[in-house]
Each structure stands twice: as structure tokens, then as C-alpha cells.
Symmetry: none
Subunit: 377 residues, 2 copies
């Protein structure tokens, strides 16, 4: 595989890489070679048509949501959207109760009087519409609200956290646990962003359009090592794992991985909503049913279970940077090494920055990187 | 039927026998002959495809549930699972109210004010989430809670017990009656285990996979007597009735048996949940509708009624060891006889141990027996 001397090599065809390639090609007139070691574009957002023509997300459910009009408008040039508001229920005490925990959840789980008293207590203390971190409520609330906070902690947070990270809540960075809120409202949606939608033809189709520029060449199933020597003058954006780029010289950055189990069932929907969390049962954290996400109707249905597991480089995929203080510190020496390559190699994206980005954040990071640095390089 | 000199003869192809056969064959490299007098494998867990392709459990409903990750992981090598949380309602005063008795049951059965006062009394006395044996509540509770305990005793426990065992509650071992709790919560599930699921293709298919090892030969419709003389050197695991093995020399161990009546109905589900208990009416104890258990959708439905009856060896099946002090004592002489056969014959399983095991317990008993004794034999 050969390309007429690209100006840029972009490693990784996920959100960060694809958006940067598009910007460099269309706005700066650069020739760009995008390589990805996988056999497909779209990174972890990759989807394909499975049985019954149902769109399947190979790397787990991807639901697009953003508050940024800029990012929304940018991606809207490459796809039409189907408005979709994701709902999640958690299996708690035998009920499928809405998550994040809100007033409906309280009503579903507790006896009527108790639920009414809790609801009134929350409204009186925090105001209708507030989002209160349960760890805060656990410390400062009246007895009944402390009980509620404890209940949520035990039945929703603690076991799920242990499955997800194999860490006890107190071992996690406080920013993670602080984020688990109870929502003093009856809004059952999992996200509250202004824009919430799924690309009508799927993510892979959207990525194909993002990358469909005459200045862009895409080569999948291609390692960076196979092309870097061919174009010594090309600048590089590396969206793979920053520690791998530097051959793990300062040790491997700790990630959490996932194993997925896809399965099919005949018949209509198997779940009441898109995702069911199982904090307290089984080894998987959650099951997602794709038909809810895509709005498709079919005689069968496809679901995916997620089993968190330890990350082993070369054996499975690095999905989540592990959010503890230690791990943030582990990034520092790699950032210093990256600094030495300034002007030649840029690191970006979930794996390049070692930061958990949602899809819109990855897209936003790429747009900002282009505007502030690459456009003027 | 002939086998090249098996190292082991296993009598019974239920959970205990199948798991031991698999372990001996795959882990210890032994040749194993499994015989069962019935014309099928899977013991009482046997299922088959009935009308509308619905999976029918010939020997009554079998719902898998366990807290043991070890047992779950072991069986997961032989089947996929469908998460299933079993719900039972009892027909009480003309209502179908959830069992075990919990706060929802109170709400379904009593007028609102009365129900709220009882609920509040339970929460104040025992705390939300507690499980309180009704015999304890009957002795120590406030007047209203004593009334409730009496009500449950009369409407749920007493008559059901008499049908099930043909014994008055006071004739039963206290460990049985002490187990009947009221659950101060809204958790309606019949079980609270971490793993609760049904094998996707049914139990018989799972057993076929457990036994599908080149070192295992299975012979159904075969009495132990027909093969024991052929292989005098083989060690034996006997999972049949221990008293039958010793020709009832110390009398028959008392069991309770069941008669089943299967019936079909056109149309969708005939019951609100998987099992409906009838403590106070009819001669059957309960009716189970298989579609709820399997999650199948079909134009018809199949149900099964259970009629407890006396056990008569040779005429019906021994299902439940009768839980009284007398019966436990009756086992002692047989245990002594079994001890004489140490190193040659092992007794295990519900009938071999004369103990009421759930499916996961039978599986766990077999795994432990293999690890502690058979692996090193």
C-alpha cells in the first residue's frame, strides 16, 4: 500500500482520528493517510448489520448526546439523526427501576408512605429539580435521607462499582463517586443533553462519509509501524495508547477492559428499555438491546452483555482509564516524553490523552486541536 | 450393551451423577459408565419440547438459582442462560398476592389504612429490608403484628403444609417452619440469589453437553443390577435411594411424592406469573406455567399441577425427604452400612444422601466430592 507522500499520518480511525483527518483535508488542504490496526473504521463506535438487519455495536452500546451545538452541527454534515432518549433501568430488589435514581425510582421501590416521606424530604431539603450526590446526602441528610443514600449506595453503587472496576468505592477517585447523583425530579432519561440522537444509518456509515474526501486515504488492518518509515517527513497524530507508542518504557498505564457477549432471541423486544443494569446479580454489569437504540422493528432481537475484566495489552482492548489518583500520576512521565516530540507527533483521543471521553468530547477535542494547533502547522 | 471396562459406574444421570461423570472423565481421565433406570438423562430436571415447542419440565418446575460463582461458572461451560427471576403468587382470599409474604402482599390483601399501619409497624419494629420468621413475629410482635402473623400462618402456611406433607406444622422439624419469613420490603422475587437464570436450550440439552465426553458412556433404561456384575473392578457412585441400595434392610426411608397433571390451553399466558400457589383450595399445591419460565411466546400455553401424595417404592417417585426428627434418625443405620463400603461405593445426591438439595447444591456436592475424594482415588 502506497500513498503519494502524505503530509500527515493519523493513527486510528475513531472519532479523534477521523475528525482530524477531515479537518486537515478539507480545511487545510493537506493529504492525509489514516491507518488503523483494526479491520474497520469508526473505532469503538463501529457498527454493522446483524441478523434481521439490526444494527449491532460491536464494542458495546454507543448513544450520542451532547450539549455542544458546534459539535452537533459538525457531525450533522455527515449524518441524519433519529432523536433517541436513552432509558436505563437497574434490577433492584426484583424491580426494574429507572436510573439515575430519581423520584420515580423511589416510588417503584419503597412502600407508599415511605416513598412519599422520602420524596417530600428531598424536595424540602434540596429543592425540586436538584441533583444531589449520594455521598453528600449520606453525610448531611436527615435520618430518612441518610437511609435512602445508604440504600442507593448498597443496592446500586457499591456492587456495580466492584464489578466495573474490581475496586471498592473508597479506592476510586472521589470525582467518580461524587458523580453518582439522586435526581430530585421525575425525569427518567439517562442523559439530559440538548442533543440526543442516533445516526440514522449507523456510526460506520457516518464515519465513511467523514472520511470520504479526495485528500484522505484510509488503510485498515495496518499498523503504524508498517507506514511510519515510508513517509519520514509526515507529521503524526497518534490516537492509540500513549504508553504503547513509547514501548511501555514507564510501565503500562492501567486500563479496565470489557468482554462482550452478543446473543440473539426470536421475538419482539426482550427488555423494557435499551439498557438494564444488574448491580447485584450475575457477572455482567448490564445488558443492552439494540432495537431500542435504533428504533428498528424485527422478528428477532440482538442483545449484548458486558463483562468487565482486567486489561492485558495484546490480549484485549483498553477501554477505561482506571480512575484512581495513582493512575493519573502514571501518565506524567509519558506526557513529558510526548513534549519532546512537539511539532512532530501529537497525541489525542481517549487512548492518546489517557482520558475517558464520550463521543462528543472526542469530537470536540479533535476540533479544538485542529483549530488551535494543526491548522497553523 | 457393553463398555470397555469402565473405571467407574455412576448410577443416576441427574445433577450429581452427570457432574461427577464429567469431572472423572475430563479431569481424572477415567472411563465412566453412567446408567439410569429412566429412559432419559437429566434426572428430575429433564425437559422436552411439547406442543407449540414449549419446553416442559416433566417432573415439575425447575428454576436455577445460586449464590456460588464457582457452580455458576462450571455450568456456564455447558449452557447459555436466560436471566429469569421467578415470581410466585398465592391465591389468598380471592386475590393473587405475592409470596414470600412482603409489603406488596399486605397492600394487595388488606384495606389501605390497615395495610399502611401494618407496613409502618413492620418497618418501625424490624427495619426496612428485614426478614422476620412469622413464628417469631407471632410470639413477640405488637397486637397488630401478631394478628398479621396469625393471618399468614392460617392462610398461607398451615393449609399448604398439610397438603404438602400431610402433617400439621407442629409435627414438622422446627427448621422448616422457622424458615417461613415475612419480608419487610417490596422485593417480590421468590429467590434472592446472585445468579438466577434458565438454560436457554433447556436442562436436557445442558446435560447432553455435560455428558458429551469421549470417556463417558451413558446407558438409559438400564438398572444398576444389570451392569454391576459385568465390571466387578469398577468403583461405584450411587445417586439412587440409599435405602433401596441396601434392599430396605432397615425399613424404607420416608419420602413425600408428587403426582403431576399437565394440561394445555390455547391463547397467551393463563397466569400472571410463573407459579400460583393454592394454599386453601383444591388438592394441588400449585400450578406452574412454563412460558413464564422460558420466556417463550406461543399461541398456546402448557401448565402443570402438583398433587402431593404418599411415596410408595416402585409405584411413584421419591421427591422430598420428610423433614421430621424421626426421619433423620432413620438414615443413621444406612449411613453405617455405607461406611462399610468405603473406597468402593460412594453415595451422593438427593437420594443417596437423603437430603433435600436444590439443583445448585447437588452440583456443588458433586464438585466437592470429586475434589476431596474421587480425584485422589
Amino acid at each position: 500500500m502506497r500513498v503519494t507522500s502524505p503530509d500527515w499520518i493519523i493513527v486510528g480511525a475513531g472519532f479523534t482520528g477521523a475528525v482530524l483527518a477531515e479537518r486537515l483535508a478539507s480545511q487545510a488542504g493537506r493529504r492525509v493517510l489514516v491507518v488503523d490496526r483494526r479491520d474497520h473504521i469508526a473505532g469503538n463506535a463501529y457498527d454493522y448489520r446483524g441478523p434481521w438487519d439490526i444494527l449491532v455495536h460491536r464494542y458495546g452500546p454507543h448513544i450520542f448526546h451532547t450539549n455542544s451545538k458546534k459539535i452537533w452541527d459538525y457531525l450533522s454534515r455527515f449524518t441524519e439523526w433519529r432523536p433517541y432518549f436513552h432509558h436505563v433501568v437497574a434490577h433492584i430488589d426484583g424491580k426494574y427501576a429507572p436510573i439515575p435514581f430519581n423520584l420515580n425510582t423511589i416510588e417503584d421501590l419503597f412502600p407508599r408512605r415511605m416513598a412519599e416521606a422520602m420524596t417530600q424530604g428531598l424536595i424540602d431539603t434540596y429543592g425540586y429539580g436538584a441533583k444531589v450526590p449520594i455521598l453528600r446526602m449520606r453525610e448531611e441528610g436527615a435520618e430518612q435521607l441518610r437511609y435512602l443514600a445508604d440504600y442507593i449506595y448498597r443496592k446500586v453503587f457499591e456492587n456495580y462499582t466492584f464489578k466495573q472496576w474490581s475496586l471498592k468505592p473508597e479506592e476510586l477517585d472521589p470525582s467518580v463517586s461524587a458523580r453518582v447523583p439522586i435526581h430530585v425530579s421525575r425525569d427518567d432519561r439517562y442523559f439530559q443533553d440538548i442533543y440526543q440522537a442516533m445516526p440514522v444509518d449507523g456510526y460506520s456509515a457516518m464515519f465513511a462519509r467523514i472520511l470520504a474526501h479526495e485528500n484522505i486515504t484510509v488503510s485498515t488492518s495496518t499498523e503504524f509501524e508498517a507506514v511510519r518509515g515510508l513517509y519520514p517527513g509526515a507529521k503524526v497524530v497518534f490516537t492509540g495508547p500513549i504508553d504503547e507508542y513509547f514501548k511501555f518504557e514507564h510501565g503500562a498505564l492501567p486500563y479496565r477492559s470489557l468482554r462482550f457477549r452478543l446473543f440473539e432471541r426470536p421475538g419482539p423486544e426482550a427488555q423494557p428499555v435499551g439498557t438494564v443494569n444488574y448491580p447485584n446479580e450475575f457477572d455482567f454489569t448490564r445488558i443492552t438491546e439494540f432495537k431500542h437504540l435504533t428504533g428498528q422493528r424485527a422478528d428477532g432481537t440482538i442483545l449484548i452483555e458486558e463483562y468487565p475484566e482486567a486489561y492485558v495489552p495484546g490480549r484485549n482492548e483498553p477501554y477505561y482509564p482506571i480512575p484512581t489518583g495513582d493512575t493519573a500520576a502514571a501518565l506524567v512521565p509519558y506526557q513529558a516524553m510526548a513534549h519532546q516530540l512537539k511539532g512532530k507527533v501529537w497525541f489525542a483521543g481517549r487512548l492518546g490523552d489517557y482520558a475517558y471521553y464520550n463521543m462528543d468530547q472526542a469530537c470536540g477535542r479533535a476540533l479544538a486541536l485542529f483549530e488551535k494547533q494543526l491548522a497553523v502547522t
